[in-house]
């Protein structure tokens, strides 16, 4: 039984790890930290795997653990990133505006909560209600964070001269 659960967990990790890593990266903007977060989240998942598996929604649970770990990490005084006056990742002149660097740098400008809402809503395709459930927040909080996050992302893209992308980032109609 125990081996069966472990094999099941390993299969789940194999299937979900690409998506979890990308979600974590969009949250934190650092692949090494992203892997640390996913590693920790999956470890916690396995410690309660029997219960999570029987609940039938391990993906949602994993997302919630991952986001909470990220937000906890950001709250810690020793967190790895501190705000700086200047944006650390200015785009290289001549590079594509849709480049990895520019978008990630723009995301870094957002408050952690806003970033989490946008990533869950638009990258993980969650509804507002599902996002609220994943964050353990009220629907109203998620709506306001989403609205402010979109505005902040648009401004961050504008600040980098990425006007075409900024025009896209609006509350979906």
């Amino acid at each position: 039984m125990r081996h069966e659960a472990e094999a099941d967990f390993r299969g789940w990790v194999s299937e979900q790890r690409p998506r979890l890593r990308r979600t974590a990266f969009l949250l934190c903007g650092d692949w090494w930290l992203a892997d640390d977060l996913v590693q920790d989240a999956c470890t916690r998942m396995f410690s309660v795997w029997d219960r999570v598996r029987s609940s039938g929604s391990p993906d949602a649970y994993a997302r919630r653990v991952l986001v909470n770990l990220y937000l906890d990490h950001r709250r810690r005084p020793s967190r790895r990133e501190h705000p700086v006056d200047a944006v650390p990742d200015a785009p290289t002149p001549g590079s594509s505006p849709e480049s990895y660097d520019a978008v990630v740098a723009a995301l870094r400008d957002l408050a952690p909560g806003q970033r989490a809402v946008l990533v869950l809503r638009f990258w993980d395709d969650l509804t507002l209600e599902e996002t609220a459930a994943a964050l353990g927040a009220s629907l109203g909080t998620v709506k306001s964070q989403s609205s402010r996050g979109i505005a902040a992302l648009r401004a961050a893209l504008e600040a980098r001269g990425l006007h075409d992308l900024a025009d896209i980032v609006k509350e979906p109609s």
């Binding site: 890593r21 990266f25 090494w32 640390d36 290289t92 809503r121 980032v169 979906p172």
Partner: protein
Amino acid sequence: MSAQQIKDIFDAAVSYVAPDRLDVDAMVVDGRRRRRIRTSSTLAVAAAVIALVAGVLVASRPHSGTVAPVGPAPSVGVAVAIPTSTWKSGDAGMAALLEATLTLRADGCLVAAGTDGAAIVWPAGYTAERFGPSFVVVRDPGGTVVAQTGVPLRLGGGEGSPATGPCLAPDSTHWNVNQDPPFVTDPTVHLGQVVVPTLVGLSRADAGSALIAAGLTTGQVSSLTPPTVKVTAQSPAGGAEVAPGTDVRLSFEGVPELVTTGLRGLFLPEETCGVQIAANAQLTAITGPVERYVICPPITGSTARPTASPTELKPASGTAFDRLDAALRLPDQVRAPGSVCTAVGQLRIVVVAITVTGAWTIHLPDNGCGLRRAEVTTALQSG
């Protein structure tokens, strides 16, 4: 506007995916450990409630029974190959007794200290895990720590004939363990726990050595401060019992709050590659209140990141953090297909730490990519 268009932007942001360094085996091992701690903590609370209801004063020693995790989660240990037999609980076996203390020999074999350094052949399913250079725990098939280095053991069983297996010399005898745990009879020993040494007042170098000798690791932040700087605070405190591999965070005299301590991928090719000169020049030119470890990711595989010549990577104007970030970009981008620097044999791992007092560049051995933090810290201490 549609949500799909915004999703497309996020897709662009993850169009480059760094090499995956997740460790599923470690998830399983650590997950089991978390489950055990949680279960035993629950039992401890239940026991305490029962004792209170009964009006019994329970005088318990600190950390007897269960121990709540202290400080950050422990690092994952490194597997140590140990010889095992087919003997398992319930089987008939030999009934002699070996009183011994385990030690990790220089060749990586876990043996009985003193006398003849006999190799121990453990029952079926036993495993061992190393934390730091020499602290090793032995686990039974259920994952419970049943023995560890430095602790007197009583191992029931008997000498075996020559055999093959990890650490078994073909012409020597070895000790077969034919007994179920416990192997430790000293009630003051808490297996699977190590005592945090008191480090306040020690130099960084001495504190680091003491931590590593105890099977602990320094927090990511502290191990690269100048070796003579004194420790002013530590967490967990000296005397606390924690799981091996736990990070002990240290604060140092005169060292300000750190900007960042994240582990980032950095490739610097060997000295023969001209681009390293440019990279080094950028790195050593950086000053400012920044401390950072940089460790290369696995060196195989390719990257989808755009290539660029070193001249395009000149740091933009801005803060020291800007320049550091720009410098960290360089190595990924020099891994262009066909570059003379992409051959595995030509690469070395370079760990760079930058603090208020300057920059250190430490070369780790070739093919050491994927080292865990504890191993890197060990290398840094010895470097």
